[in-house]
Symmetry: C2
Subunit: 563 residues, 2 copies
Amino acid sequence: MKENPNLPPQENQLVFLPLGGSNEIGMNLNAYGFGPANARKWIVVDCGVTFASEEHISGVDIILPDPAFLESVKDDILGIVLTHAHEDHIGAIGHLWPRLGAPLYATAFTAELIKDKLKEHALDAKVQLNIVPLKAAFELGPFAIEYITITHSIAEPNGLKITTPLGVVFHTGDWKIDPNPLIGEVTDVAAITRMGEAGVLAMVCDSTNVFVKGESGSEAGVREELIKQVAGIRGKIAIACFASNVARVSSAVEAATLAGRKVCLLGRSMVRVAGAARKIGLFEGVDFVEPEKASRYSDDEMLYLCTGSQGEPRAALARIASGSHPHLSLGLRDTVLFSSREIPGNEREIYDLINRLIMRGAKVITSHDAPIHVSGHPCRDELVQMYGWVRPKIAIPTHGERRHLIEHAKLAQELQIEHGIVPRNGDMVLIAPNGPAIIDEVPNGRLYVDGNAILSQDAETISERHRIAENGFIIVSLSIDVKGKIVAGPDVRSRGIAEKNGKALDKSLETLADLAQEAVMNLKAKQRLDEEYCEDKIMRSVRKAAFNMFKKKPMVEVFVMTV
Amino acid sequence: MKENPNLPPQENQLVFLPLGGSNEIGMNLNAYGFGPANARKWIVVDCGVTFASEEHISGVDIILPDPAFLESVKDDILGIVLTHAHEDHIGAIGHLWPRLGAPLYATAFTAELIKDKLKEHALDAKVQLNIVPLKAAFELGPFAIEYITITHSIAEPNGLKITTPLGVVFHTGDWKIDPNPLIGEVTDVAAITRMGEAGVLAMVCDSTNVFVKGESGSEAGVREELIKQVAGIRGKIAIACFASNVARVSSAVEAATLAGRKVCLLGRSMVRVAGAARKIGLFEGVDFVEPEKASRYSDDEMLYLCTGSQGEPRAALARIASGSHPHLSLGLRDTVLFSSREIPGNEREIYDLINRLIMRGAKVITSHDAPIHVSGHPCRDELVQMYGWVRPKIAIPTHGERRHLIEHAKLAQELQIEHGIVPRNGDMVLIAPNGPAIIDEVPNGRLYVDGNAILSQDAETISERHRIAENGFIIVSLSIDVKGKIVAGPDVRSRGIAEKNGKALDKSLETLADLAQEAVMNLKAKQRLDEEYCEDKIMRSVRKAAFNMFKKKPMVEVFVMTV
């Protein structure tokens, strides 16, 4: 799609551009543009990652949204505004900031966790990180930003009221309606209602739980249940939850204290988030036991808070399950509580983890067994409530897969919201009072963090690795003298190739060496000295034979060296 | 564990040996042994596969249970008895029969599908396939086998009453209690109750749905709902379900017929199973439309039954979703019904598929939206009912992950079943009136079907491939003359290695070539002529440098050729 030719380019426009989060839950990267089409000013909202474990891309742990378009307007980016500290909202800052280069805005807790990332990428001296108070209001060029307090599964979650000369957009961020979030304030319904009454042009809103009926429930309910559960358990207790859910961590601490247990944090992100929480005044008076000192207490005196609820192979809980954790082993008398949900795509890993814990003899309690988890995202009834408060002219679902976004748009329509539009990542949405329109599509996609490189999602590197992973590798090497005579080799080796039933692989490789030699013999002396030509002939011959031998298509690499 | 020394080896024993299905749902391979410990006779019950897609093992599609132990007692196997035709019960026959070599026993529908497998593996002339009637009774040495009609999600499902001189074992197979299964008879409660009253020593029982409360529901309910749904839909309709669920396929046909639609089968297994069903007299009078002729009918006149409900990439539905199916394209006016469930581990693939269908504009209805699917396995209340009928002395949960088996054993205990035992694959369970015991552990594990080879699960092939898939491959080749002088190369190439941010890969490979050369120069002339030694030195040097360059650990292969 191209710019709408009916709109004069000199007229001011307000546009919304999702670059992540509008084909998936997470990996949020949004931009708002204001100005004439040829001279827009931009703000970026959130800059997050997604995790490759869910997609099984070989060798890749972290996936970033492709910021190519924003890079191309780098000089017109006025600021990067962060709603909260979840990885899918701030995780890409360290990787992508050099391409965006604008000042950051975040509240204190979020800023603490961003600082770690900047340090990790040696950016702390370069980046202007503005720490703003809760309910902050500030201006970035034509955009007046106001932080609106909402509730979510982390400390200091915020929506953003973005006021422009053409109207107000409410960017909800990740939210739920928790009447008792335990940490932080409740949803600022007064501010939201006031904004709604004054008129909201568009709401860009979380779609995660649109298929879930009812309400998400309160952290207070989880605290009550955790207290009950922990009080009734003898032996060691391990609770797995997301470290960033400070309310949840605090509930576990409360449950432990009431049961006369000390708390020990296991896992790097537990320690890191607890540190950030302390800096904003949380966990005052709480003494966590160092992992190496936990063994001084009896089993009934300890409660361990662990990372790894999603079955992540290197997290604390996975190491406990495999018996390789240096500070905690669990057995017959012990209990693991999963105060978490199964993120779709992780089920296999989570069930494997549970099976391993059960094989060690531990009892496992999940949110299927007891109400020890609530989601941080709005279920259907909460969405209905939010639309009632805000009454936007335009509904723009975000933070969801296609099926979530479409269902969310349907719901908004049922709620008599005048306009709805469901952009994909890269769609530039014109936000106009007479209705939204997609007026352009900009480059978009995913980037893979691979070692110290960042690859585009269609990089040959990835497809090569997948081909080898499925089919194995055969390498042929030989030396030819200036007369075209083979003077060493062909030497044929393989990796990732299976022995045929009973038949030794060595024998198959010898056959391939014979074929390689034959392929050379079939060439004229002059052709043999053309290394590339000769390599290609050998490669074709070996590839064909390998397929017949193994019924697989290994990658074949041939070295012909003229000496 | 070793043989129990308290039991004289000459005494007859009855043992149960699961080799698959007792650490996972599916991949069933069970054996029963009778006789003195040193001269047991065996029967094998079921011989199934599991699918590697759930485990993401590179290049492997099918996983088999390791039959090494049964191979070692091959001459004493009296028969392989199949309960029903699901792949996780018969899928390994073609691969493993040569190692087991005993006659097969199956009912007509199951036998039809086994015949295909035998043909595929060119075994049809070698294998004795005995087709037995429903409710058949026959003897295999000390084992008297009786087929007991149960209900499940396939035609001709059976449990097995196995009578031995030491007592009766009821091997349930996969079952549920469907009061109206549509195809085939209802559960033979009379036979089961009679068996229970006469005394059952042990029940080896399906654990799949032990965590699901209530009952699984009936195929008749699904038919009713499918009729209702199909009647209300305009445009093309595609229904995804398992081909082997003949009742479900027949319900879809019924729904189509009532709505004035013709039915077309898309996907190889749809066609294969329908063929087998016709051979036992089902689908009489039903005319399926050939895929290439379906376009002669209007959208409102067609209903397509498709394979691929689990998001399998090569199945019909995936091809429809990607717009590459030769005979069916779906768009804005069309509807896809998923008459299926999400098998744990497949969620990501299924949701991706649904998103792609929605992106094409199609409406998607799943079992979350309407009751268009029921499970084929017993939920908790059905398990309770079965234990009430059979009242075995010993409960032996099978067909489940560890967490299912443990939960099932707890349930049996709650139901006052005297003994329970939860074996792992490979555990030999003594079934004795005074209680069961694990008396031995035999080799067990998984085999991977890789092209035309069968690999053990710890084969180096697989770990090599995974290493390359995650880290890429670097190959160094050089020629050295008899004086130890490098006369060609080092030539360094890579596969699956990413370019560093901005820096060209070629340049990095040149650096590695320089390092390889340096590594050779550091050797004495004599050392250079020891190819293996020289290769090792170069490999170490390149590996270290590559890690520093890429922060990855590529596999490095070095060829030194002396010319």
